[in-house]
């Protein structure tokens, strides 16, 4: 394998190990679409001057559940010696991703104005963006 000075490892193209593309790309897309939907929903409520409601938080909980599945699959793949090209960044992103929506949810309970909706827009967009970055980091871009 090519190794550049500084511990940088280029990605492995066409990986098909214990965490195959057929599973993790659909999971990334699922989270991405759910997040964009939630962001649009919260954005609409922000524009119409309304706070976050419980049904939005339940959507967030569904997203969190899929993220936990991603963590489990990532750990399993790493244990099988088939982990991400850049593990530090990958796990950093994934752990951050897990924290973003719960923080927005706490916000929603304490801030009963439209600004909780704004925070949820930012949080959902962040999770969607971090999923995109996870995809890049796993393959080593």
């Amino acid at each position: 394998m090519l190794t550049v000075e500084g511990g940088w490892r280029p990605g492995r193209a066409g990986r098909s190990g214990s965490y195959p593309r057929g599973v993790w790309i659909p999971l990334l897309l699922l989270v991405g679409l759910l997040c964009l939907g939630l962001a649009a929903w919260a954005g609409w409520r922000a524009l119409t001057d309304r706070p976050v409601i419980l049904r939005q938080l339940l959507t967030g909980a569904v997203i969190e559940a899929v993220l936990v599945v991603q963590v489990a699959l990532g750990l399993a793949a790493t244990a099988a010696g088939d982990g991400p090209a850049d593990p530090v960044t990958y796990w950093g992103y994934l752990v951050t991703t897990l924290l973003v929506l719960p923080i927005a949810a706490v916000w929603a309970f304490t801030e009963r104005t439209r600004w909780s909706s704004v925070v949820l827009v930012v949080a959902s967009a962040t999770v969607a963006f971090l999923q995109y970055r996870l995809l890049q980091v796993w393959v080593g871009l």
């Binding site: 530090v88 951050t96 801030e111 104005t113 600004w115």
Partner: protein, 137 residues
Amino acid sequence: MSEPRVTSGAGRALVAVYGLLAVAATARSLVQVLRDLERAPLAYLLSAFAALVYVVATLALARTGPRARRVAWGAVTIEMVGVVVVGALSVLASSLFPEPTVWSTFGAGYGFVPLVLPVLGLLWLRRTSPVAAEPRR
């Protein structure tokens, strides 16, 4: 509606976005500085500096009082200048920054959030300044 306060509503949302950028920039620059510093020392040290400024700005914006406000003004101004100057340099003299920083190409790598955020921060600080608003204390 209750009266607007510095630490509620829009201000808290602004602090949330600042906090997010602070965490993202700090985590990324820690990895860059600790692991890959020799690859692009200027770019990575600048990233670390930018991250520090975001942390300071987040903490200062989250607090009230004249001292916190002065710190917030300073930090947000540094961000504004930094993103414009480094953004321009990264486009005009790209060899200076072989690796991306938070401020490269005006924060394009972070969805231009680093460019928009100091503008919002300055507007927010001006709107909530004790001179413009009701006198507090």
